[in-house]
């Protein structure tokens, strides 16, 4: 399976990149995606996750071709 991972705003700056492409064999949760992509960096407590542009919890299981996004609390309006 392969997925795209995207980061936004202050999280993108902290990580130093806007996206990753990940390939994996076993089923993985959104929390697992973070660990695969950022093994040396703890996941900040306040970040939110989306899969294919819908909010999900961190135990959501991703599928082949999904776009997973991590970002800080939103501040529009």
């Amino acid at each position: 399976m392969s997925i795209k991972v995207r980061y936004f705003a202050s999280l993108k700056e902290a990580i130093g990149r806007g996206e990753d492409e990940l390939a994996f064999v076993n089923t993985v949760s959104v929390a697992g995606v973070w660990v695969m992509a950022n093994e040396d960096k703890a996941r900040p407590d306040n970040i939110l996750a989306a899969v294919n542009m819908e909010y999900v919890s961190f135990d959501y299981l991703v599928n082949d071709g999904d776009e997973v996004a991590f970002f800080p609390p939103v501040t529009g309006g």
Binding site: A9, S10, A50, M53, P72, P73, V74, T75, G76, G77
Partner: protein, 148 residues
């Protein structure tokens, strides 16, 4: 319904007029229009702010806003909705967001526009980075509670 993300300064009153002129099916039907315009201040948290940069997640932003408006239409009797939101570099006095709701009666117009605005604040993936008068930059880390 119309949801627009714009990269240039916009005039909310002109947007409302254009939308209303083009939505001929509303003619004679609406008795209440509720409008919220969010504008950039030149201060925040005790500091002078000279500008901000608004980032968003293209695609998810439109999807979330469209979903919010659809939920609103299920909950209130609303004729039509216009949402416009700026991205990019914004300066004090420039509008950031416009929410306009047309309904037959004021209760639906008032309550649904408030709902859309609060839902936008908590769900639509926009992020503000402020540029202070000192040229220091900082991310806004959370929105204030609109009901306080």
């Amino acid at each position: 319904m119309q949801v627009k993300i714009v990269e240039q300064a916009f005039d909310p009153w002109q947007e409302i007029q254009q939308f209303q002129n083009s939505a001929q099916e509303m003619s004679g039907k609406f008795g209440a229009t509720s409008v919220f315009v969010g504008t950039m201040r030149d201060f925040n948290e005790g500091d002078n702010v000279k500008g901000m940069s608004l980032e968003h997640y293209p695609g998810m932003t439109e999807k979330q806003l469209t979903d919010i408006v659809a939920e609103t239409k299920q909950q209130w009797s609303v004729i039509d909705v216009l949402v416009v939101h700026r991205v990019g570099d914004v300066f004090p006095d420039e509008p950031i967001v416009l929410v306009a709701v047309w309904a037959s009666h004021r209760g639906d117009a008032f309550d649904s526009s408030r709902y859309i605005m609060e839902a936008l604040k908590s769900k639509a993936p926009f992020w503000k980075k402020e540029i202070l008068l000192t040229d220091a930059e900082r991310w806004v880390d959370q929105n204030t509670d609109g009901y306080l």
